[in-house]
């Protein structure tokens, strides 16, 4: 289909899985973090906010190299995992997942922090007065009112994870079905001057991404929070 071979489909499935997991994990991590960041103004918070953005400033392969060392068998994290009888994380799906999460963190944390900042305390107070407990409030009020921030966070994370290959190349080792994601595959094709394949995959990726984003943005209902 679309002139794609099994290797392509494998990479597509893998990419989709990586993006989905990364986005979900990031939203789970970033939401409480962003909430905490937006709920006060101490120097610690400002520092954490700055630290979150730091992975961005390193060239991806260099970040990948540092992660390779940290997550590999001789690194602090990989070594600790091996010590308790687990596998280290280099050259594994879990490893590139960790890397993607780390690398895309600012794209999730920053828009969410901003969305929470803009929320104000009134909606939460209103929901409390109507008998909604903390979780209920989060689901029924905070989430829908900051939906825009979540959409930005999720789409930036998702799109960026699709395209990122520097970190993944270094840390993942292009193992088919495990760490050879679509971006790595396209890169390989392009480097091998295999342009037909590269163009075909790129085009497919663009079309897919376009429709996904179109749907997501199109479905996001808008309401003016400022009206409250």
């Amino acid at each position: 289909m679309f002139g794609l071979g099994p290797e392509d489909w494998q990479a597509i499935r893998l990419t989709f899985r990586l993006c989905l997991y990364t986005t979900l994990i990031l939203l789970v991590i970033a939401t409480p973090l962003a909430w905490w960041l937006s709920s006060g103004r101490s120097a610690v918070r400002v520092a954490v906010q700055a630290v979150v953005a730091l992975p961005l400033v390193l060239p991806p392969t260099v970040l990948g190299f540092y992660l390779l060392i940290a997550l590999g068998p001789r690194g602090f994290i990989g070594g600790s995992l091996e010590a308790i009888g687990l596998q280290h994380l280099a050259f594994s799906f879990e490893g590139i997942l960790v890397a993607s999460v780390l690398y895309s963190m600012p794209f999730a944390v920053q828009p969410l922090t901003e969305a929470f900042n803009n929320l104000g305390r009134r909606p939460v107070e209103v929901a409390s007065s109507l008998g909604a407990g903390p979780i209920d409030r989060f689901v029924s009020v905070i989430l829908p009112l900051t939906r825009g921030g979540f959409v930005v966070a999720a789409t930036l994370t998702f799109a960026h994870t699709i395209g990122e290959f520097g970190v993944i190349l270094m840390l993942g080792g292009s193992i088919p079905g495990e760490t050879k994601v679509l971006s790595v595959l396209i890169y390989d094709h392009a480097e091998a001057m295999n342009y037909d394949a590269a163009h075909r995959l790129s085009l497919m990726l663009l079309v897919f991404a376009f429709f996904t984003l179109f749907l997501v943005y199109g479905m996001t209902r808008r309401f003016s929070v400022a009206r409250l």
Binding site: E125, A127, S129, G133
Partner: protein, 358 residues
């Protein structure tokens, strides 16, 4: 059963410092000038302003004391905020039902249909929030608080954006809620007519402190009451109202001290009730004048004459059934009629000025 609050809250140069006990029944009006701390007090009661060292007790429930702090969502308080606070992502109906669906079915006392009828918001239910006018939003807020079937209602100027007719339709409803349904209401208002018609007692605030807590009757009777800076003092007579007699008029009070009250639509219920009589509507006469349109001639005894205001005198009198009746007259009239304590005079009251307040 009472609500007792003890709190100190500091906000920049402003300090709220209150220690008070309010009976948990009927409607309590919170009255005071802009910026005196009314909203802050309501927020303390609701637990939104978490003053350290404060204590708030609601009947037998301890809401806040030392370490103990019951969060707002467990207090079952219905709150109407001063500024509009509808949730913008929900429709009018969803806003109304937000608290309702979160109330255990056994505790639900009110339902969408009756509340939306009462507030005349039936036609708005499908709308989104930004398709509503200011007054419509305010009514939805009120309805939403009512539908959460709270055990205490805190209303911060809940009727300020409403026209007189809508207010008149809502007020009896609130009043019944306060008395019959047993949901105590604490309500901030600047409108004297709302206090008059709704309140059982008035809490006067001033610069962050409670100045006085008075029953409505006492509050009305004071010549210098800040309540009626515009309208002056008034008295409230207790009595019972007969069914219509004599040309639709109804008898109020005891023999020898009977007032004739017009029917005035559905507003007047037969039975024990209260009538408000503005002091300035009471005419004093040395003898019983005939041939005037004034129907109500009561024999009263002057008790005290109060010259506190420059050009008005407040004459306190006793009716035959020993109730207080105030008359506001000019100093000229006092001199002209040579009024003095102990004197027996006639108090003339026009029927059309009588308002039932409870």
């Amino acid at each position: 059963m009472s609500l007792s609050i003890q709190a100190q809250v500091r906000r920049g140069g402003f300090t709220l410092d209150v220690a008070m006990e309010l009976p948990l029944e009927g409607v309590t009006a919170l009255f005071g000038r802009s910026g005196c701390g009314k909203t802050t007090l309501l927020r303390v009661i609701a637990g939104l302003e978490r003053a350290s060292g404060a204590s708030v007790r609601f009947g037998r429930e301890v809401w806040q004391q030392q370490r103990r702090f019951v969060p707002l969502h467990r207090r079952r308080i219905g709150l109407v905020f001063q500024e509009h606070s509808l949730l913008p992502h929900l429709s009018a109906r969803e806003n109304l039902l937000y608290g309702y669906t979160r109330t255990a079915p056994a505790l639900r006392r009110l339902h969408l249909q009756e509340v939306s009828d009462m507030l005349e918001i039936g036609g708005l239910l499908g709308r989104s929030i930004d398709q509503l006018s200011g007054g419509e939003r305010q009514r939805i807020s009120l309805g939403r608080a009512l539908l959460s079937s709270p055990q205490l209602l805190l209303l911060d100027e809940p009727l300020s954006a409403l026209d007189a007719q809508t207010k008149r339709e809502i007020m009896p409803y609130l009043s019944r809620l306060g008395s019959e349904a047993g949901v105590p209401i604490i309500m901030v208002t600047h409108a004297a007519d709302e206090v008059e018609r709704l309140a059982d007692r008035v809490v006067f605030m001033r610069e962050g402190a409670i100045q006085q807590i008075e029953s409505l009757r006492d509050a009305l009777a004071r010549a210098d009451s800040p309540l009626f800076a515009d309208e002056g003092a008034a008295s409230v007579l207790l009595g019972s109202l007969s069914p219509p007699e004599r040309g639709g008029l109804r008898r109020f009070g005891v023999e020898g001290a009977t007032l004739w009250v017009p029917q005035a639509g559905a507003m007047l219920a037969t039975g024990a009730t209260r009538l408000r009589i503005p002091a300035r509507d009471v005419v004093l006469a040395l003898n019983d004048p005939q041939h005037t349109s004034i129907q109500n001639h009561l024999r009263v005894t002057i008790e005290r004459i109060d010259y506190s205001e420059q050009e008005r005198c407040l004459v306190a009198t006793r009716t035959l059934d020993d109730q207080l009746l105030l008359a506001e007259v000019t100093p000229w009239a006092v001199r002209h009629l040579q009024l003095q304590p102990g004197m027996q005079v006639y108090a003339l009251i026009k029927s059309v000025t009588l308002i039932q307040v409870g």
